[in-house]
């Protein structure tokens, strides 16, 4: 029996009420997604004559096939690939530069170390949303509009990950570095052979969080990808709505919405432990 098997709550009506409340909560959270899924499996005529059915229809393959292969402005398969490249690029890029600089800050005494530390500390404060116009100009100046580097680079320019790794490196016993030094190991050997393997879990947890962060970006891709072939899926959905009075192609749009959710949701569920750890760590 677990520690929670205390004497406080017996299995009275309160216990069943708790279950009922939670089930209601889960239903509330699920309902919008369920509806989107149903809409992605029925035909357009079933949707435009409300009320739409609340149980899946038999147009699933047709709708998803149409979305993936042609979409509205660009094939959704292409947008999925763009999103994947962006999300993985942001996650790996940020982890790589942060690991290196955290290693330098913690294990070396070099001129400008304090200054560097405070510079990156400042970046914790400013989300990309606040500096969009000038950042856009920088990207345009480099000719990086409609490019993967334009999508990725501005979003790895912050120091949250550096702080995380710094905190972690501080907890690594000094004896390890000392032993490495006595053995005549070069700093990079120590970094690669000892520090990196020890940071595995932290790196993985951070990867999960950064992947979701990158995948779900909206404003930035909206600004710099004017070419539909470079759209990411999360920002591409809105572009699928017609501008005038035409009726939106709801089944295809909803299929796209579901496709936009699947990768990050799989990551969260599949790596729940790492995900929770990453959330808690990155908010410390």
């Amino acid at each position: 029996m677990s520690r929670r098997d205390g004497m406080v709550e017996r299995r009275g009506w309160g216990y069943w009420l708790s279950h009922a409340g939670l089930i209601l909560g889960v239903a509330f959270v699920f309902f919008p997604i369920w509806l989107a899924f149903v809409a992605s499996t029925v035909s357009q005529t079933e949707i435009v004559r409300p009320p739409m059915p609340l149980w899946p229809g038999d147009h699933l393959l047709e709708n998803y096939g149409k979305a993936l292969a042609s979409g509205v402005n660009a094939p959704v398969a292409l947008m999925l690939m763009n999103s994947a490249i962006m999300a993985i690029g942001i996650a790996l890029g940020k982890i790589a530069i942060s690991l290196l600089s955290a290693f330098a800050i913690v294990y070396f005494r070099f001129p400008g170390r304090k200054l560097f530390f405070w510079l990156i500390f400042l970046t914790l404060m400013l989300p990309v949303e606040v500096r969009i116009v000038p950042t856009y100009e920088v990207i345009a100046g480099f000719g990086m509009l409609n490019s993967y580097s334009g999508l990725i680079l501005p979003l790895i320019a912050s120091a949250t990950a550096t702080f995380l790794f710094r905190q972690f490196f501080m907890t690594v016993p000094d004896e390890l570095a000392e032993a490495a030094r006595v053995d005549g190991a070069r700093p990079m050997r120590f970094f690669l052979d000892i520090l990196m393997p020890m940071s595995r879990t932290n790196i993985a947890a951070l990867f999960v969080i950064l992947f979701i962060y990158g995948w779900n970006q909206y404003l930035w891709p909206l600004l710099i990808t004017t070419d539909p072939a470079m759209n990411t899926i999360v920002m591409g959905i809105k572009q699928m709505f017609p501008s005038g009075d035409d009726i939106a192609d709801w089944p295809v749009i909803m299929a796209t919405s579901i496709l936009a959710m699947v990768p990050p949701v799989l990551v969260v569920i599949g790596m729940q432990r790492l995900f929770i750890r990453g959330l808690v760590e990155s908010e410390k």
Partner: protein, 293 residues
């Protein structure tokens, strides 16, 4: 905090920090500096030259009716999003914490909407409440309620709040549940033996013990409502009707990219920058306090 042991060398550590330094300088400090610099100018209509106006842009903004309205909108919006999502999450977390077993199952069922992007959440809610095909709209119609968030300002606000709060429940639930489970069981049991009913226990013991978590979530959720809800607003209302849902971040975008008013947009960025800095300071001071607890 310093390490006792350090490696020798100057060139290597500089090389190690270089990538981050370059990326941060080019894509962070330079644009942020530009925002501050441009906020002091007005570009001429052809974009050929800039005229120095000092704090004129700020003067203009702070006396501008629409900008002030956007401030008020942001305040209402963030208070609503924060209280709704935290309220629902706390309620569910308290229920899950009461269970002898199975709270893990509910956690799994409740956390994954965290992965749904705000913009996608916006599309889902806009679909449910769509004036033509929305299911909820249709059933509301049966009940005699004529839902139209495209025209009605209050309904538009309600919808963006609901969509933003919905996506945030997971996150808050996770932290509240962790906070609740960290409260020593013995304290609660002692109170129960003394005859304190559930509500009394919650009000006098659980909630106060939970206050560090609550305060932390308060700051994080306000930051979320300020910045990360852009996708929700852009997909559902585009700031309308009559700017009823134009929060500050949306206005930076609308004025800077749609309206091409760089001076004003930069000044707005600077004001936001100050706001975030204040929030961050509050957050850090709080975290320092938490360490002492």
């Amino acid at each position: 905090m310093e390490k006792r042991v350090s490696f020798k060398g100057v060139l290597l550590p500089l090389l190690l920090v270089l990538p981050q330094l370059v990326v941060t300088a080019v894509f962070f400090f330079y644009p942020a500096g530009q925002a501050i610099w441009q906020s002091l100018f007005i570009p001429d209509p052809f974009g050929l030259s800039m005229q120095w106006v000092g704090l004129g842009n700020f003067d203009y903004l702070l006396s501008n009716r629409y900008y002030r309205a956007s401030f008020a909108t942001t305040a209402v919006f963030s208070i609503l999003v924060t209280s709704v999502s935290m309220g629902v999450a706390l309620f569910l977390a308290v229920l899950a914490d009461r269970l002898i077993r199975g709270s893990g199952v509910y956690r799994t069922l409740l956390i994954w909407p965290y992965a749904v992007a705000p913009a996608v959440a916006g599309v889902l809610w806009m679909f449910m409440f769509n004036t033509r095909v929305g299911v909820v709209t249709w059933y509301l119609g049966l009940l005699g309620y004529d839902w139209n968030h495209v025209l009605n300002e209050g309904e538009a606000m309600g919808l963006v709040v609901a969509a933003s709060a919905w996506g945030r429940i997971s996150y808050n639930f996770l932290f509240f549940l962790a906070g609740l489970q960290a409260i020593p069981r013995s304290v609660i049991e002692a109170a129960a033996i003394d005859g304190a009913r559930f509500w009394t226990r919650f009000r006098t013991m659980v909630f106060p013990l939970l206050s560090p978590t609550t305060f932390f979530l308060l700051v994080v959720n306000i930051v979320y409502a300020f910045f990360e809800t852009f996708g929700v607003i852009h997909t559902i209302t585009s700031g309308g009707p009559q700017q009823a849902t134009t929060i500050l971040v949306y206005k930076v975008y609308a004025d800077g990219f749609v309206g091409q008013d760089l001076g004003s947009s930069s000044a707005q960025s600077v004001i936001l920058l100050v706001l975030v800095s204040l929030l961050t300071v509050v957050q850090f001071r709080f975290i320092e306090r938490r360490v002492h607890y």
